[in-house]
Symmetry: C2
Subunit: 619 residues, 2 copies
Amino acid sequence: MLRARALPATLWRALVGSPLETQRLQYEKLTKVKGLAVFGADPLSSNAYATEEILRVLVLMGSAGVALTIPVSLAIVGLLVVVAVSYYQTIHAYPSGGGAYVVARENLGMGPALVAAAALLVDYVLTVAVSTSAAVAAITSAFPTLFRFRVELAVATVALVTVVNLRGVRESGTVFSIPTYFYIFTFGGMLALGLWSALTGELPPAPPSPDPGAAVHPFSLFLVLRAFASGSTALTGIEAVSNGVQEFYPPQARNASRVLVGMVVMLGTFFLSVSYLAHHLGITPTETETVVSQIARRVLGDSWMYYLVQLGTALILFLAANTAYAGFPRLASILARDRYLPRQLANLGDRLVFANGILVLGAAAVLLILLFHADTHSLIPLYMIGVFVTFTVSQAGMVRRWLVQRPPAWKLRMPVSAIGAVVTAAVTVVVAVAKFAEGAWITLAVMPLLVSFMKAIHRHYEDLKQQLSLERAKLPRPFRAHKVIVPVNNVHRGILEALRYAKAVSDDVTAVYVEIEPGSREEIERKWERWVPDIPLVVLPSPYRSVVGPILLYLDQVQREAGPDTALTVVLPEFVPRKWWHHLLHNQTALMLKFALLFRQRRLRRYKVLADVPYYLTR
Amino acid sequence: MLRARALPATLWRALVGSPLETQRLQYEKLTKVKGLAVFGADPLSSNAYATEEILRVLVLMGSAGVALTIPVSLAIVGLLVVVAVSYYQTIHAYPSGGGAYVVARENLGMGPALVAAAALLVDYVLTVAVSTSAAVAAITSAFPTLFRFRVELAVATVALVTVVNLRGVRESGTVFSIPTYFYIFTFGGMLALGLWSALTGELPPAPPSPDPGAAVHPFSLFLVLRAFASGSTALTGIEAVSNGVQEFYPPQARNASRVLVGMVVMLGTFFLSVSYLAHHLGITPTETETVVSQIARRVLGDSWMYYLVQLGTALILFLAANTAYAGFPRLASILARDRYLPRQLANLGDRLVFANGILVLGAAAVLLILLFHADTHSLIPLYMIGVFVTFTVSQAGMVRRWLVQRPPAWKLRMPVSAIGAVVTAAVTVVVAVAKFAEGAWITLAVMPLLVSFMKAIHRHYEDLKQQLSLERAKLPRPFRAHKVIVPVNNVHRGILEALRYAKAVSDDVTAVYVEIEPGSREEIERKWERWVPDIPLVVLPSPYRSVVGPILLYLDQVQREAGPDTALTVVLPEFVPRKWWHHLLHNQTALMLKFALLFRQRRLRRYKVLADVPYYLTR
């Protein structure tokens, strides 16, 4: 986290606000209504793009393909039910929160747990990138003139959400309820009206395609599978509620699982309705307007209600992006505490949020948005792999748990989880194959990198712990003596100050002078005799005019003669100019000596202590 | 100068060779023949471009303009004689070397001296840039396919000359004689042959211009003046010998002045010959072939002799560039000793050369070559201002000297210098006006900047001297006590090592722990009691989870209570990882504390001494 002072600090404070005391840290408890708002935003918002993903594949096969929209959607809803039932069990098994990482760590060991962790970290980043891009698409569908600014809009949105989260979002439940329920009512209302009009015939079905031969590809099972894989993006986010069981009012598991059920029912209904209307109205995906926007425009006309629906869609998508800002930093801090990520990620910042995690998430999402030009469709293949790997590992963990713990009715529960695991594993394979070239390869490449990166970090921390450990350690033998060496280049006030300090910390002080200009020793010896006759001055020759070399050799010699029981301090007189550019006007011998000593010590693995005595210039 | 160790150091050694001992520093004495080679390269080489500069202006007026080539050249030779006579006097007045800076400093004071210094510094850089560009032009005239690589060739040449000079050029006199005399014989021979052929009619004169109306401009006195100003570039470098009088065998002044005379005669003859032949042969400047190359091609045909002439021209121009590598670092070191430039420029490097000055010169020349695409013609306006300001200040200094010292025959000598001063001042004004927009403005802007920069540096060094001065200084009162504070975050081997050191340097050691996680104090206090019960541990609360803030406040409080007669040392335990990226895995609290302390001390102008106790990790 940024802790610098001065100008950067001032800017930082202005952005995130003043520090908060640790004792203000407490969690709000969620009712079911608020819980649906908090955990429902991510899954419900995927309605904004899931049907469109199916259509984008099916249209390749012409009207014969598009005819499959409803069957493919039904298959996806089936998958949704399987996964939801499985998570229903997870919620009851882990009332304190059962994210994929926790479930895998407990039941499958660290290897699968790290795979789940990598998949989740990637997912959170993609949740931000995809949801923000889709939100911007909802806006630019309504206001096409904004289309060419979509990348800028998306980046600005991520920046805003990042800053808001750095400040700390306190009143989450209540604040989140507004956009979620606004979306549910506007979007749900539009769908209901659309279905009514379609069934009553007010909204005429699509005319038969004017060009039935427009198929780019012949009908193929592979493309149907690809459509199914693409549409499965509807499932993204349904796992969130299993992470946050402890945030509900008790009985926590019951409340959380009811929210899950409500959420899944609503998600399934919305999804099927969108698919039905898209098919009924013969809507085809375009570059600049979303399928959902086209449906809303047909149902509502270009009225103010249409704009409300688009606003609702954009709002819930922003909220979905915001969800990742809770999940990513929390998971990163758990991984950091388990020593699999840099420990800076485990620190609660001064606003009581994991500021470093928030910053990493925001930066990664911005990078993806820039790379993929804020195009939802290009980002989704990257997203899906992470989502379904998470599902699979999580369900597999549950299977293992039922087998080992054998609680009541485990023979009933295990198959549910097993079916979930097998189905999601199958979908993972389908996505990996069908969407490999479209971007899934990126996630498939990044995940193992992340895992080995986390393992390397862990190894370092373990090594460190062992090396610093006090087990079998003895108190180091005290030093018997303390020798101080003061390199000097002259006699002036700064030098006198350094010698004053040296005399205060040791009775054994020696000054060393390197004679660069032959004959200069006489002058310094004269001054020395006058000002500090009580401190011995050693003059070192330097035939090659190096200052640092002779001092290093001298220090090595002193160390050798004094032996390991003598502490050796090098006191460096330094004057500190008032203006930064004045530094350029000095020889920087002190700095060079410092670096040379550090470098040499590192090689020799012996240390001398460096003490800087600054002398402050006033002009 | 670069003094870093490890890889950079290895590269540096490979480039410049091993260090040389100070006692090897001695100067070779020059005979007249060698002196002409050393000091003649710069002025003689200007023949490669001086006539071309005149023609480039005169052709603008068509054939009426070109007809003025000879008169304008004669006027320039007149100027050359005036300046040369004036420098003849300078050589005798300053047998130990009378560069413009020295003459001005002694006779006119620091203001004009700094102007001369700035002009000279700019000049040296332009000598390198112009001579190298002209040398490359000589080569690309002979081999036109190389023309598009001229910038790369010029930059590579400057880099090579820089490295050679960093190694130190020892055998200058002998080595320089070869290219200089090679040039004198090949170029002089070509001119003699050309003149003979022209006079005997073997080389027919130019046919009357086929397009007499091709004048871009009507005849104007301003353009004639501009041609004169442009051609005066022939004079560049004639001052060099007055800088180096002490390098000659005794009688030094006599030898040096004879070399000056020989040089001026040769320069004048060559210059007039080139101008005559160019006019006789009706040669007009082109973008890709120099005027001199065109003359040589006409005189010698496309024979091997033509290539020898081009080679000779290129060689003497390289040598001219090399001359600046002696002058610039020497002048910079004099200015640095006078405290007008950073003192790093005064250091003799380990190869007994002023390495920093050489590097600055090379870098500045490369910058100019890149900015002006290695185009001699574009660079010359920048060059001229510096050259003529130097001449003017130097002659004015001599005038003042005659007036003040009144040596025998001063009434005769003063007017010579005065005429020189007035004429060169007039040329400076002409150049400034006639070539302002072509680039002279750059030099006119840079020079005052350089002067005020040098003054600011001087002010800083003077301030520093006063602040560090021991005049009226008293020995600072010795410290009565020494307190050590050790910030700790745990108890481990690194901490024990730091405490061991702390106990060796003081009897008054206190450890401080900042309690970030409420309740963590119990654990550290338990460990503390077991391992280091003899050292008091202060636990600081940190409601805002900052480590640095509470420690800073605590240190301030300790300092206040202890009073000014107690030395206060902060001992920082640090562990040093083996791999650089491991640094990223640590909280860097020690580093942040260090920066915060430095920043705070700087503001409060009070100091605490920081002592790092490193603990070296082995894995």
